[in-house]
């Protein structure tokens, strides 16, 4: 007998009373009068930065102003013209090491916890984590209230990977002192774009 059959057989023999799935449609998830404002405040409270970008402003200029020292900038987004590296074209993921600023795009944000859904849209997802500083482009009209709404919206493409990111990488593993920048991005800036027509 295979281990799978063995495990399932033993489980079926042992399980006693069975319980029904509860109705989840009545969960009263938190909502906000101004989800965008809540998202911005929450982003700051988790150690990130959120900037509302006026319509027509060039994001490349803003990123240059935010990171004047940055030498290596990685992105595969067509609107990013200052990139020096493209995660679609590197020969291996580790070539993205040493990236000062990585620029990616999120699909929507979540007001309750500042999560942004980021499906993989590049060959090497390392750019989302290996970069010293992360810039996430997000349409400011795309903010949902809570994770219940968020999980109804997430979509995958053929890369088969996606992540919610909320703020920069952090740890408190040394004596419970909070430090930003554990193993992934040391800072996270969300550029909130006005993309309405």
């Amino acid at each position: 007998m295979s281990s799978k059959e063995d495990i399932l057989k033993r489980y079926r023999a042992n399980v006693k009373e069975q319980f029904d799935m509860p109705d989840l449609s009545d969960i009263a998830g938190v909502t906000y009068p101004d989800p965008l404002l809540q998202f911005i405040n929450m982003t700051k409270s988790v150690g990130g930065n959120a900037i509302e970008v006026a319509k027509g402003r060039d994001i490349n200029e803003i990123i240059r102003e935010l990171y004047p020292e940055a030498k290596e900038i990685a992105s595969n987004l067509s609107e990013v013209t200052i990139a020096t590296r493209n995660p679609d074209n590197v020969s291996q993921a580790s070539d993205l090491n040493g990236t000062d600023v990585g620029i990616i795009r999120g699909t929507f944000g979540v007001a309750e916890n500042a999560c942004i859904w980021i499906p993989q849209t590049m060959k090497e997802k390392a750019v989302m984590f290996i970069s010293e500083n992360l810039v996430i482009l997000l349409s400011k009209s795309q903010i949902v209230n809570n994770m219940h709404e968020a999980y109804k919206r997430i979509e995958f493409n053929d890369y088969g990977y996606g992540t919610f990111i909320s703020g920069p990488s952090k740890t408190a593993d040394i004596a419970q002192v909070l430090v930003m920048g554990a193993q992934a991005a040391r800072s996270a800036t969300v550029l909130l774009l006005d993309e309405s027509d």
Partner: protein, 455 residues
Amino acid sequence: MSTQHSKAAKAFLKNQTYAHWHDATFWAVRTKRDNMAYGLDEWEQLREKASQIKRHTITHLDKYLDQFATAAERNGCEVHWAKDAKEFNEIVYGILKNHNVKKMVKSKSMLTEECGMNPYLEAKGIEVVETDLGERIIQLKGQAPSHIVMPAIHLSHDDVGELFEEKGISNEKGNHDPTYLTYRARLSLRNEFLTADAGMTGGNFGIAETGDIVVCTNEGNADMSTSCPKLHIAAIGLEKIIPNYDCLAVFQRMLCRAGTGQPTTTYTSHFRKARPTADHMHIILVDNGRSEWIGNPQHWEVLKCIRCGSCMNTCPVYRRSGGYSYSYFIPGPIGINLGMLRNPQQHSGNVSACTLCLSCQTVCPVKLNLGDQIYQWRQQLDDFGTANPQKKLMCKAMSMVYGSPGIYNLGTSLAHWANYIPSPLMNCSLNPWAEGHNMMEFPKKPFHKMIKDYE
């Protein structure tokens, strides 16, 4: 009469400064959790739903496991099933050997700890590098975790600073600033991520409908572990499977709020398959006792646990005795229960580490009745042959005294004569009631008499 736990706790309490810090630190985490819980009107509703989802899922696991495995295979993953720790370790080694892996980076996984995977692989010549900062620290120190979410909480920044100096991770002698030490660890681990041949993650959740492995971290180490190496192995216990995203939303909202008092972990990552530039992804589903535990009429609900750690943060005994006072590798209320399911003979010493205050089950996000279960384990100690003979004798004596009003009244009216026994005799190490403080004084008039006189 001391248990293994109380003896170990005594050693922990010798360093009072640290013991106070430990207590206050975890109470602060509990307070942060409260702020998060009170900040959501629906918190109690979420707990109830979470409990019901888990009750449903763990009593229909055969269906959900099958659904999960089918979905994951359709996504292109290879799914393995391990009956026990031995088979799990062999499967991991087999995969690593096939891919000629010399070094594997891994994110935190209590399951691999449970299975003793690291020592097994190291004995076979494979280097395993923990990448969660806390786990890395204790790995370098040759220690086991003292908390499931904050594994290096028993070490001060000076301890870590000295360790990093000794291991050549930091180069500024005497600089024990946590920010500096974290930065040095970042540089060292970055090098490990870039040179490892494989990355292993645990999984907080497996989604039956879609085959996703969902991993929650603050450091981003699970994502770093799977972004560069050519091979990803994910290992999860059977009970981590949940039906779908609607259920996941409930748990994602609670896991971190309950565990660390944050609104979310920084990363909530969904893995369905390998990167286009990597070999295909392996998922190992591990039983190791779980399919037996579901049949335990009193303790099957332990399988509801989502490993947030909130029960240990709030536990007055954990806070004042530390993770190493418990004989099982997972401490606190959940660890007491898991240890007893694993091996009651070996871990009975932990069931005394509970005041039955039930704070644990009051905060538990899946409403697991941890304290009630500890009480039930205590009733079974005699069956396991681990009941304390002195305590048994005392219980017999007490039932005799309390069962007979004559003996009871005689005893309470004579008790105050004990006050005349010279202090050195009374407050000596032979008297368990005089441990840590002086023996109490007995009142001249027993309570019953006082009430009668008052009336």
